[in-house]
Structures are given as structure tokens and as C-alpha cells.
Amino acid sequence: MPSALINVPAKAKRGDVIEIKALMSHIMETGYRRTAAGDVVPRDIITSFACRYNGSEIFRAEFFPAIAANPFISFFTVAKESGKFEFEWIGDKGFSETASASITVE
């Protein structure tokens, strides 16, 4: 049961620079580790993250095995209009999760 924690300010003034934080539950298994028997533990990581603000993409990141478990992403954007932030994480083994948060811009 993967869960996400999103932090977007509920309200902002038009033109404000706002911080967006997104935390996703994931083990981020590197693919370099081996079991006691010597078998490789298969890679299982998030490979990409994207954030859309009212439909247009404002942030995208590629993830690699060196990123720690439960990746936490924080970035800034300008509050232009009221609406919705949509977040998407895609990864190995068909991992695909979404989350969203609304903002009121005055």
C-alpha cells in the first residue's frame, strides 16, 4: 500500500514563490545487493517523477539507484492561478502512483 505525503500551501498570493514537497513510500532497491545465497536482489526503484500545474508540466526528475528509500522531492514554482497540482511517480515492476493537491490563488 504505497502512500504519498504532499505539502502544497492551501492559499497563496498571485506571483508568490511557493515551495512544493512530495514524499513517496518506496524501498528503492538498488539492484546491486545480493542475498546470503549470492543471488542478485532485482532492482526496484522509482525511475521518474513529474508534477503538473493545471495540466502543464512544471517539474520532472529522473531517479537512479543511488537515491535513498522513500524519496523526498522539494521544488519551487510561482503561484499563477487557482487549481490543482498533480504528481506522478513511475518505477520498476509496473510501479505507478499519483497524488494531487489544490491551491487557491488570490
Partner: protein, 268 residues
Amino acid sequence: MIAFRAIAVRALVLISVLAAFATTALSVYANDIPPGERRSGYGFMAPDTKAIQDDDTANPGMLWVLDGETLWNKKQGASDKACADCHDDAHTSMKGVAARYPAFDKELGRPVDLEQRINLERARHQRAEPLAFESRDLLALTAFVAEQSRGVAISAGEDSQLEPFVAKGRTLFMQRQGQLNLACANCHDDNWDKRLAGSAITQAHPTGYPMYRLEWQSLGSLQRRLRGCIFGVRAQPYEFGAPELVELELYLMSRAKGMPIETPAVRP
């Protein structure tokens, strides 16, 4: 003159006797941390790590708390009951519970910690299989229950039935063990203001369990932490759920009496 000297000598003898008595009385607790100097592991952390714990949307431990809330309301076991069916809203019913654990279980006649309590409730009331120690589900439920006590002062060990078990835990804390021949107290009572391989030693107050350790990249229990320390002094760790570990947990919690619960804490 002679009389004066006799009085002086007598006074000196009295002072030295008193001093000797004071030293003996003190020596029992000589190494204990003075109450005014007690600090949670939080107080030893760098500002960046503190910031992770302080923000509930940045604290990865909250992911387990969220999962725990889902499990709290999920019907399980042969009796098809959820925790919420008996305990209702955990935000009120579970407030302060974690601050009292480990607590005495009448049927078993010994203390059980919060993880063991959850498994006992599963067995007795939900008639469900016990969850494995350190499994995601058990950590999630424990974290969810313990998070309800955030800010509540620790009061574990007040039950008089627990006295012999607190004493056993204390003995184990003071006992040298392993190839390095170190007792817990050698670091956490005597040298908590120093560093070991660059890391703060800390005072071993279990205020935030289950906690997210950046080193583990996961939430983990106090028993996991204790096993890590025991392995560190190159002794044979007790199995998860062993009475010795619970007694140690109990002693540490009673030692941290009055300190606020921080679950889910973040530590390096």
C-alpha cells in the same frame, strides 16, 4: 588547648565519616544522568535532521503512521473485527498508551511491549495470526498507536508489579558483555557527551520508537535498535521478543520518565 584539639579531631572524624557515607550513598547512582541534563536523541542531531522530524510532510515515519491508520480500520482474523470495532477512534482511545509501555500482562505474568501487545490483541480478540517482528504491518500499527501519544510524558514502569522487571533491565544495562566487554552504561551513562566514530553517543532515551533511522532507510523498533547495539559490542543478540529485550526496554522507558513521546522520531 588539648580539649580544643580533641574537639577539632572529633569534628574532622565526623566530617570524614559523613563524606564517606555520602560517597557510598552516591556511588550506587554515581553514573546516572542528572535529571537536569537529560536530553532526547533529538537534541544531539544536526539542524537538517531535526527539520525532517519536525515537518510531518517530510518525516518518512509518517508514511507508516498513514498505513497504520488504514490497518486500524481493517477487519482481520477469524472474528472479522478491526481494532476500531473495539477501540473506536484511536486519536482519543490510544492517547497516552505508548507512554505507559512496556506494561504488565496479567495472563503472561510479565511485561509486554507495544508490538507484543498488538499481537496479543490480534490473537485474543481478532483471532488473527501474529504479525512478524519488524514487518511493515506491525511497525505501521505500532507507529500509528504510538503517534497518538506524541507530547505525552513517559510514565512506564510505575505499576508496582513491574518492579522486579525494571530491576532486571537495569542489571542488564549495567552488565558488561560481548568481546568488547562493554555495558550499555559505559557509553550511555558515562560517555553520552562524547562521540564514537564521529557520531554522538546520546543518552539512550527511547522517546521516539518506532523511529525512522536514515541508516536503516526504514522505520524500526526499539528491539531492533537494542539488537544493533548488542551486536556492536560483539555479543550474541537476544531474539526478537525475548524477555531480556523487553526488560531492557522497560528499564530504558522508566529511566526516561517524564520525557515527551516523539513517535515517529527521525534519527541518523
